[in-house]
């Protein structure tokens, strides 16, 4: 009789999120439409908060969740980085859910009521007055559950299932905008086709690594990197293809083409979710794959990853300079930030903690930035063209001050989280001997500061147009999002010590 031991407490965060997602589907079917929004938002926030508490209760754990007759089965590895990133994802997604639930800035929210109605038909124009569909909340929970699974996946199969789990709901969420539905659907189509293309690469790469190592567990692949007798070409193809799929999700050049289009076309709350949470999940998994699974073959992939990191940092920054649309600007800045984070991945064990700190700091700043973008409106549409933002500081001083703080944080000005995060990440890179990469990173940050500071100048020093966009006052929902983001940005800039302590405690992967 084989004895399977399961660490239920360790799995609790994921179980809570997935169970609530299913409960959300039942609510869709059983609760009257008028009350659904309150129930769904309440359930989602409670579930994510409970998941966060469950993660905190697991703190300090470093073990696999499953064991068969005393032998560890590594499919779910609950260790410092995994748990820290799970907690970060839970917190960021609470904030993102509040933004998804915002109903006051535009009547009925940003989401379409019946996605099956043909876009721009008479029925579609009529349903614009109705409040948005509430199935976005279960979808979000499924995606968040997938992200939480992605960062603790200890073998390639779990990682693949988690990758799809987080991607599939996001494809749908991208296509559910109420305004500009054609553009939103187009973003969903692009994201879906390219995402499915990337997952096919993941499957093939996974098969190659399995052929090379004879196992799919990351620790087994690491061991095989030293002592496998199989042809090494299998390892090269496998690493290359898996890296393509994950760098696609992380939006690294040259796998970034979808990012500006999808960030622009998707409803802004979904963009915020992608920019913050998916970034955390993708880099969490990249850190784990390269630290746990591919450390022994570091010589084989180091050069190509360095090239990608440099292309990402420089490419993202240069394209950001030329953007005239605030959402595209933030998209290219997220690409450049993926480049900085790649320095942390390449530096391996020396920079895990600092990379995680950067992810948390960047996540809160970018979520608040997108929240502010969703407040500035031309009538019912968002005023995303930068020229429309001219002189916003004259009419809506509070919003402009907040956005200025966020822009300065993204530009990496001292006393904001952007500065402490970049500083600690780049110093970790230097310690790991990646001097060239850090130099490129600093140059890229300098280039990237220009578009941010141009936005600040535009906000304060230009005269507003006579038909300037209005800033719609948010309900407590989006208000909380902006407040939480700004608070985290300033707090991590002024007193980053407590979080830096946590990440340095939690920076050892199980199996390294």
């Amino acid at each position: 009789m084989s004895e399977m031991s399961i660490d239920w407490a360790g799995l609790a965060p994921m179980i809570i999120v997935f169970a609530s997602a299913f409960a959300g589907l039942l609510i869709e079917a059983s609760v009257p439409k008028a009350r659904r929004l309150v129930v769904q938002v309440g359930l989602a926030v409670l579930a994510l908060a409970a998941a966060f508490i469950a993660v905190v209760l697991n703190a300090g754990k470093s073990a696999t969740a499953f064991a068969l007759e005393g032998t560890d089965i590594g499919s779910v590895a609950l260790d410092g980085p995994g748990l820290f990133l799970q907690g970060t994802i839970a917190l960021l997604s609470v904030v993102a859910v509040l933004l998804l639930a915002e109903q006051r800035t535009t009547r009925g929210g940003d989401f379409v009521s019946e996605a099956a109605v043909v876009a721009d038909s008479a029925a579609d124009i009529a349903q614009r007055r109705e409040s948005g569909a509430t199935e976005i909340f279960p979808l979000t929970l499924f995606a968040v559950g997938g992200m939480m699974m992605f960062v603790v996946a200890g073998d390639l199969l779990t990682m693949f299932v988690a990758l799809e789990m987080l991607s599939l709901p996001l494809y749908l969420l991208c296509g559910l905008a109420k305004r500009r539905r054609l553009i939103s659907q187009e973003a969903a189509l692009k994201y879906f086709l390219l995402g499915a293309f990337a997952s096919a690469f993941f499957v093939y790469g996974m098969a190659m690594l399995y052929g090379f190592a004879g196992t799919i567990s990351l620790t087994g692949i690491n061991a095989a990197g030293i002592n496998s007798n199989e042809p090494r070409i299998l390892l090269y193809i496998g690493v290359g293809m898996i890296a393509v799929a994950m760098l696609f999700k992380a939006a690294a050049v040259p796998f970034h083409m979808w990012t500006p289009d999808v960030y622009t076309g998707a409803p802004t709350p979904v963009t915020a979710l992608m920019a913050a949470c998916v970034k955390v999940a993708a880099f969490g998994a990249l850190l784990r794959v390269f630290n746990v699974g591919l450390q022994s073959s570091a010589w084989d992939w180091h050069t190509i990853l360095v090239v990608i990191a440099i292309a990402t940092m420089i490419g993202g920054a240069i394209f950001a300079v030329t953007q005239r649309n605030i959402k595209r600007l933030l998209a290219y800045s997220s690409i450049a930030n993926a480049g900085y984070l790649l320095i942390g991945v390449i530096s391996l064990g020396d920079a895990v903690g600092q990379t995680m700190f950067y992810l948390a700091a960047y996540g809160f700043t970018v979520i608040a930035a997108f929240a502010v973008v969703s407040l500035v409106r031309d009538g019912d549409d968002e005023a995303t063209d930068l020229s429309r933002w001219a002189g916003l500081g004259k009419n809506s001083t509070g919003t402009a001050v907040i956005f200025t703080v966020l822009m300065l944080a993204l530009a990496g000005i001292p006393f904001t989280s952007g500065f402490t995060a970049k500083f600690s990440l780049f110093s970790a890179g230097l310690e790991a001997g990646e001097i060239g990469l850090v130099v490129v990173g600093v140059v890229s940050s300098a280039i990237l500061a220009f578009p941010y500071l141009r936005v600040v100048v535009l906000l304060w020093l230009n005269e507003p147009a006579p038909d300037a966009p209005t800033v719609n006052l948010p309900s407590p929902m989006a208000g909380t999002v902006v407040a939480a983001g700004v608070l985290a940005t300033v707090l991590l800039g002024v007193a980053p010590g407590f979080l830096l302590d946590i990440v340095s405690e939690a920076s050892t992967f199980l199996g390294t």
Partner: protein
Amino acid sequence: MMSPEHYLILAAALFTIGAVGVLVRRNAIVVFMCVELMLNAGNLTLVTFARTTGTIDGQVMAFFVMAVAAAEVVIGLAIIMAIYRSRRSASVDDANLLKA
């Protein structure tokens, strides 16, 4: 006699055909079918390696990949249908509103 190498070469060929198809074909449905072809090439590789390494993981993974691919079809066809109904076209070239 068929050796495992034959299957691996066949899978590699299928994967390449699929990848080229994704890059050159313009109909979203066909692009999507090419992605499915790539996934199945992955599956064939997985079961072949399950045979050569004498482990069962590869066969299990092939089942998971099939299940995930089925879920992906549901999502994909829903998105393509929504686009087709609004535009009367499933060509990826016609979806060009997002050019900078």
